[in-house]
């Protein structure tokens, strides 16, 4: 059965009415899920949808259920597509997947191009960090997300995050990496202050993971596959990582000055940015990045070298993060 036929059968069962699928096409959309767009026609009504299907081998072993529940939870608070259905068995489409509404009319620039936002950089930067602040302020109690997400203690967020990502490096490293290991040891010796609150953390909140309309408005925040509960400074540090600055050292995400970004985030979240805490989470995020790229390199090899996105992640971005880590370590006063 083709993918199109599988979708038609599944949607017919889901909606209880004969459904046809057309214009099915895979689109670039992250290395952890296969992403397809298509049109469905049921009861004379056409709906644009997105399919996110588990790959045979992906960048990270992420939790599709958490991603799906994150979409359901933040919808209405943060610009995201509406979640439609989650299927965790292999029966319908050979691998687990979920479906969501498609947002049309937007663009998602690559994180590795210059001046991706043109005259709208400032406006997009303001929305980008205000949206992240609103996510930090959003209560997760009683939400669908809590069905699957574990809540760490305020003073354990850093340890949970660091244990997770250092374990990824331990498991997937194919060549010794002294720089990231030195950073991990520093982070363990110098833990940050406890989180001010436990928030839904997007996990990959950065330029390249949001869609905008080309006129200065963010349409959707995408790729919630690493969502979890934790310290909201984790997302802030990742969003401000130099890897995502589009070759512009003066603006985070190639959009907005760093002090403006932090002020907007503080106003929207109701939290304050402790410089020491943000410094810890910034160094941590370079470690987290290196863990992701380490995993990508392993997945590239294990997958028979056929996914070039995994190659560039495990190679170019890994070396960028080694540079970032080395610079940050050199700037530290203490061990």
């Amino acid at each position: 059965m083709s993918l199109q036929q599988g979708l038609e059968t599944y949607l017919t069962g889901l909606w209880g009415a004969p459904t046809t699928v057309s214009n099915l096409a895979r689109i670039p959309g992250g290395a952890s899920r296969e992403t397809y767009r298509f049109d469905s026609l049921v009861d004379g009504r056409s709906r644009g949808l997105i399919l996110r299907r588990d790959p045979p081998g992906g960048l990270l072993e992420t939790d599709r259920r958490l991603e799906f529940l994150a979409f359901k939870t933040v919808h209405g608070h943060v610009p995201v597509p509406e979640a439609i259905a989650l299927e965790e068995s292999d029966a319908a489409l050979e691998r687990p997947f979920f479906l969501m509404e498609r947002v049309d009319g937007g663009v998602v620039p690559s994180p590795f191009v210059v001046l991706p936002y043109g005259d709208h950089a400032q406006a997009l930067g303001e929305q980008f960090f205000a949206t992240l602040g609103r996510l930090a302020a959003l209560s997760h109690e009683g939400t669908p997300f809590r069905e699957a997400a574990a809540e760490p203690a305020l003073d354990e967020c850093w340890r949970v995050a660091l244990d997770h990502w250092s374990a990824v490096i331990e498991a997937d490293e194919l060549h010794p990496q002294p720089i990231v290991r030195a950073a991990i040891r520093h982070l363990r010796r110098n833990p940050p202050p406890p989180a001010q609150r436990i928030s839904i953390v997007h996990g990959d909140y950065r330029t390249g993971n949001f869609m905008h309309d080309g006129q200065g408005a963010i349409l959707a925040i995408l790729d919630w596959e690493m969502a979890h509960l934790g310290d909201p400074l984790e997302d802030l540090g990742w969003a401000c990582d130099p890897l995502w600055n589009h070759f512009d050292d003066t603006r985070v995400g190639g959009m907005i000055a760093p002090d403006q970004a932090l002020a907007i985030w503080e106003a929207a979240s109701g939290l304050t940015v402790d410089p020491a805490a943000l410094a810890w989470w910034s160094l941590f995020n370079a470690v987290k990045g290196q863990a992701i790229w380490t995993s990508a390199a392993k997945a590239y090899r294990d997958g028979g070298f056929t996914d070039p996105v995994l190659a560039i992640s495990g190679w170019y971005t890994a070396r960028r993060h080694d540079l970032i880590l080395a610079e940050r370590l050199a700037a530290l006063e203490a061990f």
Partner: protein
Amino acid sequence: MTPALSDILRGNFLSLAIPAPVESQGDFMTGKVAVIALLSLLAAQEAERGSQSRVWENAAIAALLKDAASIYGQDLLAVADTAAEDLSIPALDAANATLRRGLIGLHEAVEAAGDLPRHRSIIALYGQMAQARRLDLPPLPAG
């Protein structure tokens, strides 16, 4: 470091040679080809600088280990004597892995001893290593 240059070039071939299913053509294939093009450009840099950077890094780590051996153990000398069997990238990487493991162990010992000057020397070497291995992505315009 992984993936190796040969992995990248082999992967570029496979990515283009294996027929894509019909639903993976169009925008997806366009994006895939763009990434393959970038990888090819970076591979050229690695072909030009990869051996040189590895020879330099291996020598730099060996020198640092030898310098530390009188304080942190004579076994570092054996690690420092690790030599690549030839100048191919796989051989240089094999030696580099041994040397890097020695460097990680030394750095841990230096931290435990509170030896700040040597710690700073190692951190400085990390910066040089990262610079020597850097790949320069061209500043591509937004599409």
